[in-house]
Structures are given as structure tokens and as C-alpha cells.
């Protein structure tokens, strides 16, 4: 039973380096440690200058996404014992600009999230005094899966289209748009369709399907996007009919 495992971490200090370099550390191997525990061990005991994001360590805040042995993972959910012989390679999330070490810049996503109008759009608001909008459990099921997104951005790191075309709105943003489209209380589907049927919207997606594989919360963004495409195409056909909806 091995006592330690090697961890090879990508370092990038803009004041010192022009591009990332790997630094090797040896950390204790414990069967209930995750990669995040190893990184914290490094920061606490070996090298306080290692920068990375983390918070909840239970897979719900979405802060700790990194590339572990070339795959985008939540480091709080990636057990050391599942990563093979080692050294375990830890790098910042792919396809995002690297600010420092394992920290990437996600302002591109934040901008795109706002763009898809991820809120309830209503033509007429119901006063709060009249109580809740009724929504049956089946109506809730229609969008519930897409509402589970923790914005960890592993899907963006898995999507080669996003890597090649950074203007692509991306899996999580489109899935969240679809979450609101499918919410029985929302009336904003038309507005979102306007935005997402343009270039860089849902039609950039070529259904690689890697986003769904990478998603730790089983949101199935690939499914959301393809369903959205079908709905969008159906809507377009309807507009061709003489009395079809516009």
C-alpha cells in the first residue's frame, strides 16, 4: 500500500513566467483524500504560494474545477485512489485564460450567462398576494434536471467547439436558457430564441456530447441543446405555414 503519491501541478506566476511550468510535489496517499486535499496539503505544508479556488468541498459550489490527468473534474470529488499510479497531473481548466497557477478567468461565461436572460420573463406579473404560480410535479420535472447546473464550467473545458471558437455561448449557458424556456411559469422563450438562434448560439454546437460526459451534476447540457434545436426548428417551420405562429 503506497504511502505517498506524486502530484505534478501547473504553475504560472505572471511576474516570473511567460508560460505555465510544472512543479512536482509528493503528498501523503490516503484512501479518503481527494485531489483537493492533496492541493491543500501542498499549500499548507510544502508551498504556500500555490493558488487555487475552492470552497464547499462537497460538489455544490462549482469553484474547484481543474484538469486532472487531462480530464476536467471537480477536485473535491476526484479521489486520489481513482487517479491511477501517479504522478497526478493537475492543470487549470482548459480553454480559459489562466490568471495564475490553477485559477482561470471566467468573465466570458459570466457575460454569456447574462446574455441568455436566465430569469423568469413574464408578460404580466402575478401579484405576490395572489399566491404561488401553480406548477405540477410533472411540470417541475420538465426543467428540473437543467436547473441543477452549479456553473462549474467543466462542460466548457470539455467542449472542443468552445476551445476552437471562444465566441460560442457554450453548454451551460444554453442549458440554463432551456431551463427557463421549459419552466411553465416563464414566458420568455421567444426572446431567448432570438438571442440563441444567431451565430454563436445553439447552432454552433455539433453535438460532440463531451459536455454531458464531463458534467458532475447530470445536467445533460448536450440534451438541452439538441432539444432546444428541435424546438427551434419546429418553431421555424411553423412560421412558414400560412397561419403559423410568428
Amino acid at each position: 500500500m503506497r504511502q505517498t503519491v506524486g502530484v505534478s501541478v501547473a504553475r504560472y506566476r505572471p511576474e516570473q513566467e511567460a508560460e505555465p511550468v510544472f512543479q512536482d510535489y509528493e503528498v501523503p496517499f490516503r484512501k479518503d483524500w481527494v485531489v483537493l486535499d492533496a492541493l491543500n496539503y501542498i499549500k499548507d505544508r510544502l508551498d504556500g504560494s500555490l493558488s487555487f479556488r475552492w470552497s464547499c468541498r462537497m460538489g455544490v459550489c462549482g469553484s474547484c474545477g481543474m484538469m486532472v490527468n487531462g480530464q476536467p473534474k471537480l477536485t473535491c470529488a476526484a479521489f486520489l485512489s481513482d487517479q491511477g499510479e501517479g504522478p497526478i497531473r493537475v492543470e487549470p481548466l482548459r480553454f480559459f485564460p489562466v490568471i495564475r497557477d490553477l485559477v482561470v478567468d471566467i468573465t466570458d461565461f459570466m457575460r454569456k450567462l447574462k446574455k441568455v436572460k436566465p430569469w423568469i420573463v413574464r408578460e404580466t406579473e402575478k401579484p405576490v398576494a395572489e399566491g404561488e404560480y401553480l406548477q405540477t410535479p410533472d411540470q417541475l420535472d420538465a426543467y428540473k434536471q437543467f436547473s441543477m447546473c452549479i456553473n462549474c464550467l467543466l462542460c466548457y473545458s470539455a467542449c472542443p467547439i468552445y476551445g476552437l471558437e471562444p465566441t460560442f455561448v457554450g453548454p451551460a449557458a444554453i442549458a440554463l436558457a432551456q431551463r427557463y424556456n421549459m419552466d411553465s411559469r416563464d414566458q420568455g422563450a421567444r426572446e431567448r430564441l432570438e438571442i440563441l438562434s444567431h451565430k454563436d448560439g445553439m447552432w454552433e454546437c455539433t453535438f460532440v456530447g463531451e459536455c454531458t460526459k464531463a458534467c458532475p451534476k447530470h445536467v445533460d447540457p448536450a440534451g438541452a441543446i439538441q432539444q432546444y434545436k428541435l424546438a427551434s426548428a419546429a418553431h421555424w417551420f411553423k412560421t412558414l405555414l400560412p397561419l403559423g405562429s410568428r
Partner: protein
């Protein structure tokens, strides 16, 4: 130094902070409002709350019933006027977030569903499967995106509140990505930074819960109320401290000791029934359940594990279908982190620190004694939670008091002048202090060492059961750690995303708060709710029906004063569960 300004600045981007920002944007559209947070808002710790949020909505329930449950749950330390306002505004706030898109679980007819919860006589806890906090936070955050007027400073770490002419007038903050130090002046500041569970070693809290806002307010001269009341959640996983929601017990889970015995029946919490009985046994209040664990441990009836003693939470009898429908996240967490399937195995659990009843002292509108400074959420202490918080009251508290603080701050800000040169001079001083801190190369202490010592001290002396002697020892140890913290050496001198610097600043916040907790606990010579003194085991309403207020002193321990609890309609009585 770059100087920005806004009218209302919200520090902290969790549930309370975002709700406050929306309240300002809606109620005072002419004012500029900004939210500054050291993490992106969707990473705030509100996201990990699981169980639910309470509000009176079903027939057969009443505001008075909710109020009574809250007040008795808080062992009569709750300000009853605040509780009355809270239970009254709760249903409207909850319906408002439903209108904003929160995916509440529903009854077959489409109405919002409720579940039983600890300490509540009537079912009134709204829930979104068992990820209520996650859904509430994302709903609030996505709703704030709709308001063009809400500006955000993401990943900006606040290091100081600027105070001049007896009024809070802004903050100094480091933009983490670039290391740039900025002053943001404001006519009102609302602190919504959450609690400080990371002062303790075993906690459900995330890494970011260091009590930043509480310490900032404390250093600015605002008192901290009821800091000695630290809630231990009875069911956290042993190694990680990950929360296993109270909902697992609300759905019918049992707590069993090493003999498979439902031990809570020995602690005046009622008789064991096959189905959950409200306000009884496993649905008793959290402080009593955590205390029962410690007593069982002393009797040798808990199980020993590599990470401490534990008991079992048994939900097997609920069946796979109920577990997957009502507590799916619990199942996911157990499978992932303990390699255990709750459908067929029992979950190892132990009490872990979960919530701070105490915080920055505010009135029922979220205003602190420092003009221009407001607080809401876990960072504040109004107090509606008293000596022990009932589960599912805090998520509702975020909405009710976030909105109140936002409205009050808006009214205040509208009547203020912009900041003067004295404020900017203070900001420059702070900038110099931070530069010096960053550049300092000499130093003898390591952050991790001091943190570990703080953890050991707090868990050992300020845990579930406390004694005067242990608290005295803790007070001097914490003071020693505070001084040693000045000599921390950093490996990281980069300006770009320097998390070692922020860890050092967070540690100093936590040590200040630890001193307040220990001193408040030392001075309160009674046992009430979650503050249990083995040397003063009885509740003493004659002397201590009051909130403790901890004021920072220049050197030496915090000065503790007392503020009587506001009693309106529920005179103090015996706290009864299970009968």
C-alpha cells in the same frame, strides 16, 4: 489608489446580500447599488444549504405558532418583536422568490409542498428537493442579472470598513485577479458575509466562512451580539464534516447508538414512534440533539472511528423511492464521500459546527449601532434565532432581513453626502498597510500551524460543553495566537490572485472573532440553548435574559455588555420537546 463610489454597497454575495441588492434596486432605483464579494456570488455558502425554508402557508398553521416554535427553539433569547416581524413577512418573501423562478417541490395539485422540520410543531418548511439553498441562491443570482443597476465586484476581498464622523462610508478592497487595492466609498454599507464556522475544525462550513464581515464591523466599533451561541448540527459526516440535512430526520430517519438503540429517548425528547413526530425525538432542536451525542459519548455508547466518535443515522426504512425523491442529494453525498448507500446501510454521523447564532448586532431593520452600517443573514444577529436556531429559519431569514436591510440602507443612503477627504486618507493608510503586509519577507509563523492551534483550542474549550476554567485557558491561548498572527510569513509575494495573503487576513479575522466567542461564553454564567456550561448548568432568566454584546478593546479581551431581550407576548417558559 483607485477610488470608486456607489450609494449602497453590499459586502457579500450570498442569499442575504443578493436579496438586499434587489431590494435597493427595486425600492430606490435612483440609487446606485453594488455587490462586492471575495468569490463569485454562485459560490457563496448559501449554495450548500439543503433542508428547506420555513414560512406559514398551509391551513392549520398560524404566524403565532411559527413564532412560538422559533422563540422556544431559541430558549427565549429571541427578540420577540423581531420574530413577529419575521414570521409575518416570511410567506410574502417566499412567494416572491417563487415568482422569481425558485423550483419549489410541489404537491400533486401544483401548490408548494411543505415538510416537517426540527423544532416545528406544524409542517411549514418549503423545500426544493434537498438542495434548497442551491436553488434559492441561483434563483436570486440569476434574478439580479436582470437589473442593470446592480453592479458587481467579483473576487474582491474587503480588508477594512472606512468610518468617519461616526458613520460607515465605504470599504477598502483588493481585486484578487490583479492585486489592485481600491477604495469604494458608499453612503451605506450592508454586511452579508455569513458566519465563521471555520474557526472550528469540524464544520459543515465552506473554506470561505471566516467571518470577514463580522470582524470588519467589530474592528470598526460595532458590537457583536450573542457570539457564544455556536450551533452544532447533529448530523455531519465524520471526516469531511459534510452536512447530512435535517430533512433526512424529517422524512423519518432515526439516530442510533452502537447498540442500535434510539438513544434520544433518554434525554427528555419524547418516546420513539415509528413515524416522525413533530417537536419530538429526532425532530427535536439541534442543540439538544448535539448535547445528547456528547452524553452518549461519555457513557461509551458511541462508535469509534478514525476521525472521532460517531453514531448512526438510519434511513433504510424509508425505502429507495422516498430517499430518491425527497433526499437524493443525501444519497449522492453518502455514496461519494463515505462509499455508503443509505438505502441499505446506516450513515455515520456526528455533531459538527454549522451556524453562528451570533453576529453583528442589528435592530429589526438590519441597522447596526454604527450609522451607515447594516447587516443581514448569518453575519447579523437581530436576534430571531436566540440561543439556538431552528432548521429552515435561516434561509427565510436571508430573504426577510436581506430585504429589510436593503430598504433601510436605501433610505439612509438617499439622505447622505458623499465621502470627504478624511475617508480617502484612511483608505490610503489601509493601502499602505496591505502593501507592507504583502511585501514583508521576515516572519516566523506559518498560517497552517496557527490555524490548527486555533482549531484545537476552540473545539476543546468552546465546544458543545464548556467550563469556566477551559474558557479562561482558551482566552489566553487565542490572545497568544492573535499576537503570533502578526508574525506570519508568506511564501507568496505575487500581486496576482494571492490566496496566501487572503488566508492570512482571514486567519486574523477568525482570531478576533474567536476572542469574542470565548469571552462572551466566559461571561455568560448559565446554560441556555447551545451554550452549555457544566459549571453553571441551569438557565438563569433573572440575570441572563439578555444578549451579550462584545466590543473590541485596543488591547486586552473584548468588553462584554448586556442588552435585555425584547419580550412581547411569550413570557419565558420551560422548553419542552416530546411531551
Amino acid at each position: 489608489m483607485e477610488i470608486l463610489s456607489c450609494d449602497v454597497l453590499v459586502v457579500g454575495g450570498g442569499g442575504a446580500g443578493l436579496r438586499a441588492a434587489i431590494a435597493v434596486a427595486e425600492g430606490h432605483p435612483a440609487l446606485s447599488v453594488a455587490v462586492i464579494s471575495k468569490v463569485y456570488p454562485m459560490r457563496s455558502h448559501t449554495v450548500s444549504a439543503e433542508g428547506g425554508a420555513a414560512a406559514v402557508i398551509k391551513p392549520g398553521d398560524s404566524l403565532d405558532a411559527h413564532a412560538y416554535d422559533t422563540i422556544s427553539g431559541g430558549d427565549w433569547l429571541c427578540d420577540q418583536d423581531a420574530v413577529e416581524a419575521f414570521v409575518k413577512e416570511a410567506p410574502e418573501e417566499m412567494l416572491r422568490i417563487e415568482h422569481w423562478g425558485c423550483p419549489w417541490s410541489r404537491e400533486p395539485d401544483g401548490h408548494v409542498a411543505v415538510r416537517p422540520f426540527g423544532g416545528m410543531k406544524v409542517q411549514r418548511t418549503w423545500f426544493a428537493a434537498d438542495k434548497t439553498g442551491f436553488h434559492m441562491l441561483h434563483t436570486l443570482f440569476q434574478t439580479t442579472l436582470k437589473y442593470e443597476g446592480i453592479r458587481r465586484f467579483d473576487e474582491s476581498f474587503v480588508t477594512r470598513l472606512l468610518v468617519d464622523e461616526g458613520r460607515c462610508q465605504g470599504v477598502v478592497a483588493i481585486e484578487l485577479a490583479t492585486g489592485q487595492i481600491r477604495a469604494i466609498t458608499a453612503k451605506a454599507v450592508i454586511v452579508c458575509t455569513g458566519g465563521c464556522g471555520k474557526i472550528f475544525p469540524f464544520t459543515t462550513n465552506a473554506n470561505i466562512k471566516n467571518g470577514d464581515g463580522m470582524a470588519l464591523a467589530y474592528r470598526a466599533g460595532a458590537p457583536l451580539k450573542d457570539m457564544e451561541f455556536v450551533q452544532y448540527h447533529p448530523t455531519g459526516l465524520p471526516f469531511t464534516g459534510i452536512l447530512i440535512t435535517e430533512a433526512a430526520r424529517a422524512e423519518g430517519g432515526w439516530l442510533l447508538n452502537k447498540d442500535g438503540y434510539r438513544y434520544l429517548q433518554d434525554y427528555d425528547l419524547g418516546k420513539p414512534e415509528p413515524k416522525p413526530v413533530l417537536r419530538s425525538m429526532e425532530l427535536g432542536p439541534r442543540d439538544r440533539l448535539s448535547q445528547a451525542f456528547v452524553k452518549e459519548q461519555e457513557k461509551g455508547r458511541t462508535m469509534e472511528g478514525p476521525y472521532g466518535n460517531y453514531v448512526h443515522l438510519d434511513v433504510r426504512h424509508l425505502g429507495r423511492k422516498t430517499i430518491e425523491k425527497k433526499i437524493p442529494f443525501v444519497r449522492e453525498l453518502c455514496l461519494k464521500y463515505e462509499n455508503i448507500d443509505p438505502v441499505s446501510e446506516m450513515i455515520p454521523v456526528r455533531p459538527v459546527v454549522h451556524y453562528m447564532m451570533g453576529g453583528v448586532s442589528t435592530d429589526i431593520d438590519g441597522a447596526t449601532p454604527l450609522a451607515g452600517l447594516y447587516a443581514a443573514g448569518e453575519a447579523a444577529c437581530v436576534s430571531i434565532n436566540g440561543a439556538n436556531r431552528l432548521g429552515s429559519n435561516s434561509l427565510t431569514e436571508l430573504l426577510v432581513f436581506g430585504a429589510r436591510a436593503g430598504k433601510a440602507a436605501g433610505v439612509f443612503a438617499a439622505a447622505q453626502r458623499p465621502a470627504g477627504p478624511a475617508v480617502l486618507a484612511q483608505a490610503q493608510d489601509e493601502g499602505r498597510r496591505l502593501e507592507e503586509r504583502l511585501g514583508r519577507t521576515a516572519g516566523t509563523e506559518k498560517i497552517a500551524t496557527l490555524r490548527t492551534e486555533m482549531h484545537q483550542t476552540m473545539e476543546g474549550s468552546a465546544g458543545i460543553y464548556r467550563t469556566g476554567a477551559a474558557l479562561e485557558g482558551a482566552a489566553s491561548k487565542i490572545e497568544e495566537l492573535r499576537l503570533r498572527c502578526e508574525a506570519v510569513s508568506l511564501d507568496d509575494h505575487s500581486r496576482t490572485f494571492n490566496t496566501e495573503l487572503t488566508s492570512a487576513l482571514e486567519l486574523s479575522y477568525m482570531l478576533d472573532l474567536a476572542a469574542a466567542i470565548v469571552q462572551s461564553a466566559l461571561q455568560r454564567k448559565e446554560s441556555r440553548g447551545s451554550h452549555q456550561r457544566t459549571d453553571h448548568p441551569a438557565r438563569d432568566d433573572g440575570k441572563y435574559l439578555s444578549h451579550s454584546l462584545a466590543y473590541r478593546t485596543e488591547d486586552g479581551p473584548p468588553r462584554i455588555e448586556y442588552l435585555p431581550v425584547t419580550i412581547t407576548r411569550w413570557p419565558p417558559a420551560e422548553r419542552v420537546y416530546g411531551r
